[in-house]
Structure formats: structure tokens, C-alpha cells
Amino acid sequence: MRAWVLGDNVDTDAIAPGRYMKFGIGEIVPHCLESVLPDFARTVKPGDVVVAGRNFGAGSSREQAPAALKHLGVAALVAESFAGLFYRNALNLGLPAVVCTDARRVRDGDMLRVSFEDGEIANLTTGETLQCEPIPAHLMQMVRDGGLLAHLEKRLGRAR
């Protein structure tokens, strides 16, 4: 999992620009993060990890922001902190988002292994292990189910 390292306060307009919001996710994805990392959408590989500084996902409630990252195959988001609304949206889509106060120690291009259950990030490039905050238990089940929609499907299915 290659790490793509971003700075502080990366906003939802950078992740999913408003002028493409009228289209489906397929048309939004090529513009994901283009104002910050112009080659990101073309070169990111499934399984890669986005590592950001403070307040990742600031701004809009638009779910297309985490949806675009998920669509590109991003396996996890790691940040010093997340904007609260974005954090809820990411988990609701089944995209794991973990808070790691040491996120800044990761360099762009490092290879990482993130384990949400243990709250640990192994940096395979540097040999370092970083501690992160585990995803709260009541949300982890939803993430495991694949997000809120799949989780509700399971819950409503059981109720019937």
C-alpha cells in the first residue's frame, strides 16, 4: 500500500470539485485531488493509502468526496485529524478512516500496512510502527459490513 501524503486542511472542493457534482461518480473521479496532486487520479493504485495532516476533508457534506477516493481503490485514510462530517461520510461508505497523531512521520511513497483492529500502521519502508486511534466499536461493524447502506440492508433483512 503506497502512501500518498497530503498537508493540512485538504478540503472537499479539492477532493470532489463542485463543478463536476452534477455528474455521476465516474465523471468526478478523474478530478479527485487535481488541484493538490494533479497526477493522483491517474496514478493511484487500488490498495493505496491517503495520509493527511490536520482536518482532512474540511468543508462540504458532499459524500462524493470519500466516494471518489473509494472509487479509485484507496483502501484507507490516515490523518492527524479529520473534519467530523467527512469522517462520518467515509465510514458510512465503508472507507476506513483512522486518526494517527504521528501521521506526519509518513513520507510520500512509503509502503504501509494499516490494521484497523489493532490501531497500528506498519511503515514497511522505514520499519517504524505508528499507533493510531481504533475506529469506535459501534462503527467498526458498519465498516466491516461495507458501509451504512449494506449495514441497514442486513439489519432490515433480519427484521423481516
Binding site: 478540503d11 472542493d13 463543478r19 488541484s35 490536520r54 468543508g59 457534506s61
Partner: protein
């Protein structure tokens, strides 16, 4: 136990007598607001996949504001889906092309002190001006609310922002917010509740209070709150409402106090609302476009501020005004405010989110330098990535339009 306003509102919705910051609770939702972008086009397919119906259509308010008036094939399709779903789902509270959701919702009497509400839009904290707990969620989370009528919440701590005295002439709620965001940053609110209080807040009209709570979003709070008072009742045309306020000794995460009268008009440089400084630092900047728009910057009170500056003056640059609601525009027309803007050379745009959110036909072209009364100036948000947006109050936007450079409105209001 002493409780903050936020704790009291959450406790009521969770069916509890008291709650503690940090604990996770499930709340019953009194009102769910959706719009054409985050609403039917996103939730209808998910409802169908689940074979589920809206838990209580009477508690849903749907407002079209992002893709109206429809201007191309995609926006026409989105609006068609929206209108069809209103009929299918039996939504009576539907406001079509009446203005921006955060302004229309209280204008049409849907908010009450004590309510617990969610909106599928990040500026939903605006509702907190009415002592209601209101916050923004994404479309999938809104689907969860529409199906179950419930949502989980980590009970927030409260950060009190107390403003003593009174704001100076030509200084508005927008200046107060840019000041706070400049000082505490885009994550200063820590996704907790920010409560505005103090003598200066009590003197602000409801729409100015709405601006404070609206921009709790840019401060990174989950919601912004203001205790209810006589002005709340007057705006909602209701009498003898139960008072909602924090207990005097309730425990706070932080308590910041400011002398309101010492705050100067603020301007936020591209590309973040956190780049805020006093207007006088920007005197060399020459915008080509002035924009008065959005839920945060083109309500009736905002139009009045612009008119106070523009009366008898002409804009030296292109001036666009998109009144935040049709009703506010009609009132502005009746009282003469709109005519002042027109006489100054303003072009009036539809009552929708428009340029602020990157929608519509007037997006900023390459290299355009604009001054705007909106909430966010992130790179590329309002048009081309090379455009540059300075955020300011309606007073400052209007004064800058007249001067052709960023201008302190106090110079023009003497």
C-alpha cells in the same frame, strides 16, 4: 448536573434527563432537511435497494436550491428526479425554487427552540441560531435517518464564544466569524458545539445570528448554537416558547471572551477562510468582480448592509447579487433595498446556491479576482482553479465594489 444548551438538546432527543460529553447516544430526529443535490437523486436508489419508505414524511423538508433554475441537461434531470420523488414519497414540505434551504427552513417556520434536526448539507448548523441542535450529514447518513428516524451522536463538548458590548458600525456577524476562523483555524471547533453568547450576540437580528451558526461549519464545529430569546420568538412569529439556554455553571471545553467593539471588518485571502485579517491589510487588492450571494451572505439583512453602503453610489466593477430567498428578495424589493442595489449597477441572479458552491452559469473564469460575501474560498470552488476569492461581509464587498479595490466600509458609512 449542570448542562450546556447542546447537552440539553441532545438529552431531549435521546430520551434522557442528562448526557455527558463524549458518550455515544442515539437521537430521535424531529426534522430532516434535504435538497436537490444531496436528496432524491442520491437517496431514492438507496431506499429502493432497501425496499424501505421514509419513516415520517411529515418530518422531512425538501428544498431545491443547488440545481435551480435548471441550466443544462444534467440539472434538468436532477430537478425532474426531485419533483417526481416528492409525489412518490408524499413529502408535503416541498419548497421549489424558493431560495436556499438554510434560509427557507426557518423563514417558513419549520424550526423551533428545543428541536433536534439534521440536514444533508454542511451549512445545516445555521438552524442552531434558533436554539435547535442541527448539523450536516452526507447522503448515505441521511438515508439512515430517512429509514430509521434516528442518528448516533457523540455528545459534544461546548466551546463558548462570548462577545461583550456591541459590534461597531459596519461590522457584522460575517466579520465576527472570519475573525474567529482566522484566530482558531478551520478545525478550531474540533467538531464540538460552539455556543455564541454575550451582550453583542443578543443585539444581533436573527439573520445575523444565522450567519454565526452557519459558519460554525468553517470553524469545524458540529453545530453552532444560540440560546432562544424574545427575538427568536418574534422571528418565528410564536409566543411563550420554552426557553432553551445553557445552565450558568455548565462545564465548558473552552470559554473565549471578546470585546465585540474592538473587532474590525475582516477579509479572508485565497484560498481559505482561515486567512483572515483586518480589511486595512488588503487595500492594494483590486477585485474585478463583487459577489453578494449564498445562505451566509445574501439574506435580507445582508442585502440591507450592502444597500447602506451602495445608496447613491455606483459599483466600479461587475456586481452580482443572488438574494438568498425569494421572500427576502420580495421584501427587499418592497422596502427599496433592491432598487438601491440595482441603481448601483447590480445584476440580480436567481435565489439559489449558485456560484458559491460552483453551480450555475456564472462560475468564475480563469484568473478572475473576486470579493465575495460567501463562506468558502477554497481553490477552484467558485470556478476556475486559477480564480482567487477574497471573503468579506456584505458591507465590505459593497464598499470594495464602489472603490474598485478592497475597501474599509467604515470609510463609506460615516
Amino acid at each position: 448536573m449542570k448542562q450546556t444548551l447542546a447537552q440539553k438538546l441532545v438529552a431531549r432527543a435521546a430520551g434522557r434527563s442528562a448526557v455527558t460529553p463524549g458518550e455515544i447516544v442515539t437521537c430521535r430526529v424531529d426534522l430532516a432537511m434535504i435538497h436537490d443535490s444531496s436528496g432524491p437523486r442520491r437517496v431514492k436508489p438507496m431506499l429502493e435497494r432497501l425496499g424501505a419508505k421514509v419513516w415520517d414524511p411529515s418530518k422531512v423538508v425538501l428544498i431545491t436550491d443547488h440545481y435551480v433554475p435548471a441550466y443544462d441537461e444534467e440539472s434538468r434531470r436532477i430537478i425532474r428526479i426531485t419533483r417526481d420523488w416528492v409525489r412518490e414519497a408524499g413529502i408535503d414540505n416541498f419548497y421549489d425554487e424558493q431560495g436556499i434551504c438554510h434560509v427557507v427552513l426557518p423563514e417558513r417556520g419549520h424550526l423551533r427552540p428545543g428541536m433536534f434536526a439534521v440536514g444533508a448539507d454542511s451549512h445545516s448548523p445555521t438552524g442552531g441560531a434558533f436554539a435547535a441542535y442541527m448539523f450536516g450529514v452526507g447522503a448515505t447518513e441521511m438515508l439512515g435517518v430517512l429509514v430509521t428516524g434516528e442518528i448516533w451522536l457523540k455528545v459534544p463538548h461546548t466551546i463558548a464564544m462570548e462577545f461583550d458590548g456591541a459590534f461597531a458600525p459596519a461590522v457584522s456577524a460575517k466579520d465576527a466569524m472570519l475573525f474567529l476562523i482566522g484566530r482558531f483555524g478551520l478545525d478550531g471547533g474540533q467538531y464540538q458545539a460552539v455556543e455564541y453568547r454575550g451582550a453583542a450576540i443578543r443585539k444581533l437580528p436573527m439573520q445575523e445570528r444565522m450567519t454565526l451558526c452557519n459558519m460554525a461549519a468553517e470553524l469545524g464545529a458540529q453545530t453552532g448554537l444560540i440560546a432562544s430569546d424574545a427575538l427568536t420568538e418574534e422571528f418565528l412569529r410564536l409566543k411563550n416558547l420554552e426557553a432553551w439556554d445553557s445552565d450558568p455553571d455548565a462545564s465548558l471545553l473552552a470559554h473565549h471572551r471578546f470585546d465585540a467593539g474592538a473587532i474590525a471588518p475582516q477579509v479572508a485571502a485565497p484560498h481559505s477562510p482561515a486567512n483572515s485579517r483586518a480589511v486595512t491589510d488588503f487595500a492594494e487588492v483590486r477585485p474585478q468582480l463583487a459577489y453578494i450571494g449564498a445562505c451566509t451572505g445574501a439574506k435580507l439583512e445582508d442585502l440591507r448592509m450592502a444597500a447602506r453602503v451602495l445608496k447613491g453610489r455606483k459599483s466600479a466593477i461587475r456586481l452580482l447579487v443572488a438574494p438568498a430567498s425569494l421572500r427576502d428578495q420580495q421584501t427587499a424589493e418592497k422596502e427599496g433595498t433592491l432598487q438601491i442595489l440595482l441603481d448601483a449597477g447590480a445584476l440580480v441572479l436567481p435565489n439559489s446556491c449558485g456560484i458559491c458552491a460552483g453551480y450555475g452559469e456564472h462560475l468564475l473564469p480563469e484568473d478572475m479576482l473576486a470579493i465575495s460575501s460567501t463562506a468558502r474560498n477554497f481553490k477552484g470552488r467558485m470556478g476556475a482553479a486559477s480564480s482567487q476569492v477574497y471573503l468579506a461581509s456584505p458591507y465590505t464587498v459593497a464598499a470594495s465594489a464602489v472603490a474598485g479595490r478592497i475597501c474599509d466600509p467604515r470609510e463609506m458609512l460615516q
